[in-house]
Assembly symmetry: C2
Homo-oligomer: 342 residues x 2
């Protein structure tokens, strides 16, 4: 249990932050970390960034700022990051996890560079070939763990099966009180077995035979938010497109409701109007993609959170909060142990 202001302290969590990542860098990450550091005074933050771009003098006592000269840009290719990025803010945050100085790290930086550096610095679990980004999706019925969302493209059937095992291990770590085998589905363009590509059919055949999970067939794009699977597995290219298309559609709709709310904000003066506007505002906030920002990079040996690149301060705060809540509620079994039974 990690204490928010005045709550009982049970353990101390240490989070390494790459302050330079994302389209807006320290402008969004630093205020977000400061806010979270004030809200959770018992969480320790090690923040890696360039001192000229970060408000170093205004940081709370539970933030340790570590100056680094270099950072990875959003345009750097993974090979460039591996060759020249080993002293970057992103690499330093990963190294803090590797060396046991932090329990987790977080970045809004370049996904390709993160995947390359995380593999290099943290290493992979021996039964996993390539990493996967996993996000907890809100659905009509509870939550679904969806992966991969962009770490690995052109996956083989074997890699899709490994992703299912990674998703399963994370699901088991987060959900300690389950009554039945977690359900797994493969994202596809139809529900019939013959649909889609060979790799998906081969993965389906193999998942069908696994005893650690309940394979329930394919899931189509329009069913992602129905809550019909605990774990949704897909190639990283496809998963990234699915996630971002959903976010784009959600934003497009939120703009409409925002315009409606703005129109009526002035005239809504009686109690009933206020009640309607409040309900709509709540609904708006619940649907906001920023609320669900943050994916975990699975397969590497360490807790790595990837925040959206085009992230706002609010959204980066949300991914920090998600990380804290996740660790707060997770089982005592290590990811490693859970992966070995998945």
């Amino acid at each position: 249990m990690i204490a928010k202001n005045n709550e009982k302290i049970v353990s101390t969590l240490r989070i390494a932050v790459d302050a330079m990542g994302g389209d807006f860098g320290p402008k969004t990450t630093i205020p977000a970390v400061i806010k979270q550091a004030l809200d959770y005074p018992d969480v320790k933050y090690i923040v890696y960034g360039h001192r000229e771009h970060c408000q170093v003098d205004t940081m709370p006592a539970n933030i340790v700022f570590d100056h680094v000269d270099h950072h990875i840009t959003m345009n750097d290719v993974p090979t460039h990051a591996l060759r020249y990025g080993r002293t970057s803010s992103m690499a330093m945050a990963l190294r803090a996890v590797k060396e046991g100085r932090a329990d987790a790290c977080i970045t809004a930086g370049n996904t390709g560079a993160l995947v390359a550096l995380a593999r290099h610095i943290l290493g992979m679990y021996s039964s996993i070939d390539k990493p996967a980004l996993c996000k907890i999706m809100p659905t009509r019925l509870g939550r679904s763990y969806m992966l991969d969302l962009g770490a690995t493209i052109n996956c083989s059937a074997e890699q899709l099966i490994q992703f299912a095992r990674l998703g399963l291990a994370l699901y088991l770590r987060d959900n300690t009180n389950i009554k039945k085998l977690p359900s797994v589905r493969l994202l596809n363009i139809g529900s019939e077995h013959f649909k889609g590509m060979d790799v998906i059919r081969h993965a389906a055949d193999a998942l069908q035979k696994m005893n650690s999970l309940d394979y329930q067939g394919y899931i189509e794009g329009d069913e992602i938010y129905r809550g019909i699977a605990d774990i949704i597995v897909c190639d990283g290219f496809v998963g990234n497109i699915a996630l971002k298309s959903s976010e784009g559609a959600a934003r497009f709709m939120l703009e409409g409701i925002q315009a409606a709310l703005n129109t009526y904000a002035d005239i809504g003066n009686n109690d009933q109007d206020q009640y309607i506007l409040k309900a709509l505002t709540q609904w708006h906030d619940q649907c906001d993609p920023a609320r669900y920002n943050g994916a975990q990079l699975l397969g590497v040996k360490g807790l790595v959170i990837k925040s959206h690149g085009g992230v706002s301060q609010h959204a980066f705060s949300q991914s920090l909060l998600m990380l804290i809540e996740q660790i707060q509620n997770q089982s005592n079994a290590s990811f490693d142990e859970l992966l070995s039974i998945a």
Copy 2:
């Protein structure tokens, strides 16, 4: 100009309908066609279906019903459709176009079967290898033509370029008064040239050199609804997932607003409340995926509209309406001519 009730008649449009297609078949297609036939008395409908499942005795005079014994199910594989489906309702509707008895055909049936039968019955344009499903997407700024949405998977770079040409020809047919070259983007998981897969980079290189269009680079999933491209090109697997994920997210959000509207429907008694509810209902209807139902199968020699398989009566009506409006507004140049300059 096609006349709605009492308007001036300029031409007569003939639409062939596969009444048996879709998850709900004649239960949704027949009431939809009857409604459209009453709304547009000068449009002629040739409806192919099994007489026992269709309300044959209640049809308006501008519907000709043609009984067929067989139909394609949603589970039939394309090879089965080709071998045994040549006398199905879907094949008969396509044949009506081929033989000049209809100007267009529409089905909510099995996509794989439709692609196989349409290629076989109508034939392909000589410069196009495989068909693509193209849909007109609503965006913040006007509309974007997006293809392929599920007709062809595992596309080569050359096929993606052909899809760009098909989208361009359709765009030119629908938009007669354009002032600048239509803009084209490729759907990808990042904006930098090195992102994604080889086929996409190769397609980008080739599109860059084309004079018939203005290639503007990649577009990410969350930008689909921003209106930053006239034409969005992608592989059919990816496009299908993008479209359906968006629809799923939209439905998930609409359920929330619907619940809010239901809660306040009773208490909204004063004029101002009614005004807010009316505005929200309009916004709800505008965002409803059913409103944008219907994609055109391009590459085959004939006008073929694919309606969503899990379609409601309202959504099937919308795709019929879209077809009528599209033909009403299109240029006199044939698709064939436009494709030759694309």
